[in-house]
């Protein structure tokens, strides 16, 4: 890590002055350390996402389907019809700039394309070209541009530099939510097989095993058993969790990261201790080994994938619990 990442003294020299050229004339160059690796084709295949293949972000050729422009523009049209929020967010921004310095990626990078207003403009400019009369006729003078390979690469680079945190939306007088724009831009790019592996592989794992890390039921039980050993060492008391128990009153679901790596594991031990304590008072709770994920990376892929990965939860509740207690992740 230390070899590749600038040290804090270097990193803190951030220049927030925009370049002399306008944003459309400032080419985007994908820089190592900023982008994530491409989705593993096996993971895309596993959940039936389009265009699974090996590719690298710095390759000139991203191996896209021949009609990729048509796929994206059709996809955009479809989503403008389905999501009124997207249509409104494309139309109403007045570029007041209230959001500009609210994004953590802009604060930390100084890259103007990380200003939420400009991040959205990357998509809005293409929308304007095809959906506004002024854009059709006047083009660049009214901020409209064609969808080109370079524009697509720029989308990919910057929509995977937004964490959908929605901080900018708090400051927008119109309530424009850049996260919603990022979500839909990522959806469009997924139509071409342009996911990142840190999302694609957890999605495939979750579809297969019920959690992002691909932990199988016996391993899940073993891990919790190990935590019980640790708790017994520290407290002298051993919790006795149950799994997939029918008729339990409450089903508990936590992100699989907490059963996998420190310091989340200590939090998982905290849950086990709390539930043990409460069981003496009549708490009736169980864990699921197949709806075993408190996060949902489908949310970072497409609405359809989010729905698909969420589906096991209500069904697990139906068989194991009458309601659910949950520990969650920040976004999905």
């Amino acid at each position: 890590m230390a070899d590749e990442v600038p040290n804090p003294q270097e990193m803190i020299n951030i220049d927030h002055r925009p370049p002399a050229t306008g944003w459309m004339d400032t080419p985007t160059v994908l820089r190592k350390g900023i982008y994530c690796y491409a989705g593993n084709p096996k993971s895309l295949e596993y959940v039936g996402l389009p265009n699974p293949r090996q590719w690298h972000p710095e390759d000139d050729d991203w191996k896209l389907p021949e009609n990729w422009v048509e796929i994206v523009l059709d996809g955009l049209r479809d989503r403008l019809d389905r999501f009124r929020s997207l249509k409104i967010f494309m139309d109403i921004c007045v570029r007041c700039g209230a959001c500009a310095d609210k994004c953590h990626y802009f604060i930390g990078s100084g890259d103007p394309k990380n200003m939420p207003v400009l991040r959205a403009e990357l998509l809005r400019s293409v929308y304007r070209k095809d959906y506004s009369l002024a854009g059709k006729i006047l083009g660049k003078t009214v901020g409209a541009r064609k969808l080109t390979y370079q524009v697509l690469k720029e989308w990919w680079y910057y929509f995977f530099q937004c964490s959908e945190c929605r901080r900018c939306s708090v400051f927008c007088p119109y309530g424009i939510d850049t996260a919603e724009i990022t979500i839909l831009a990522r959806e469009l790019m997924n139509l071409l097989g342009l996911n990142i592996d840190w999302i694609a592989t957890p999605v495939a794992n979750c579809y297969r095993t019920g959690n992002h890390l691909g932990i199988q039921p016996h391993a899940y039980v073993d891990m919790l058993d190990f935590f019980c050993d640790e708790i017994e060492d520290v407290t002298g008391v051993r919790p006795k969790p149950t799994f997939n128990r029918k008729g339990a009153e409450i089903l508990f679901i936590t992100p699989s990261g907490d059963v996998f790596a420190d310091p989340g594991t200590y939090t998982a031990m905290g849950y086990l201790i709390l539930f043990h304590y409460l069981e003496q008072m009549g708490l009736d709770i169980t864990w699921s080994t197949y709806a075993s994920e408190g996060g949902n990376f489908g949310f970072f892929t497409s609405h359809e994938m989010m729905k698909r990965l969420n589906a096991p939860r209500p069904s697990a509740w139906g068989s194991s619990g009458s309601w659910a207690a949950n520990a969650a992740t920040c976004g999905g």
Binding site: H104, G108, C165, P263, L278, G295, M306, A327, T329
Partner: protein, 208 residues
């Protein structure tokens, strides 16, 4: 998932009317806010138990910790889960300090690695994006001696330790329920000498 559950789930897979409305079996509290989705956040559940004096907590076991709280973006800004985690922390720890107001609650800063960006190859992006959060932690680290950053998100628990190591060495990361696990006094427990990490409890350093 918290946002997925409360913003989208009813539309996607709901309604979950085959389940019962969530009621805390120990306090009798009816979680009206979760009537539709049937899902209660663990800090809502625990805060309710504490509010009703159902937990025997020994806060002094966390006395080695000077804690601040990182609001995870969507549970806090998106869904309003603001006070429950703080209530749990303040009932399990004696030393708690807030970061500056424009960096917490609705205005919280991302860990820098959310929405699937917690990979290894983009560390520079993560450390740049995490700078505002780290800067606020650094402020309370220097002002109040904060040495533990608490959170309610598993991605945070993976993303924040390297961020702290990079920008604010000397601050570690914990989940809110690790603090509960350490403070909760179990029936029949032996005298605890360490916390769940195997670190000596306050006053037990000599015996280690």
């Amino acid at each position: 998932m918290w946002r997925v559950i409360h913003q989208y789930m009813d539309t996607m897979n709901g309604p979950t009317d085959f389940m019962e409305d969530p009621v805390n079996p120990i306090t009798g509290t009816r979680f009206e806010n979760a009537k539709s989705t049937k899902m209660v956040h663990i800090t809502e559940f625990t805060a309710d138990l504490i509010r009703h004096n159902k937990l025997k907590l020994d806060k002094s076991r966390n006395d080695n910790l000077v804690v601040t709280f990182h609001d995870s973006c969507n549970p806090s800004r998106g869904m309003g889960l603001l006070d429950e985690p703080r209530y749990v922390i303040q009932n399990t720890c004696n030393h708690f300090y807030e970061m500056p107001p424009n960096t917490i609650r609705e205005q919280t800063f991302c860990c820098g690695s959310g929405s699937g960006l917690n990979a290894g190859e983009n560390l520079e992006l993560r450390f740049r994006g995490g700078l505002p959060r780290a800067n606020a932690v650094r402020h309370v680290h220097e002002k109040h001696g904060v040495n533990m950053l608490a959170c309610v998100c598993a991605i945070d628990r993976a993303a924040l330790p390297p961020l702290m190591e990079y920008w604010v060495p000397g601050v570690d990361v914990t989940g809110v329920h690790e603090l509960v696990g350490n403070a909760l006094v179990l029936d029949g427990e032996k005298e605890r000498k360490t916390d769940l990490r195997g670190e000596p409890l306050p006053g037990m350093e000599e015996e280690e």
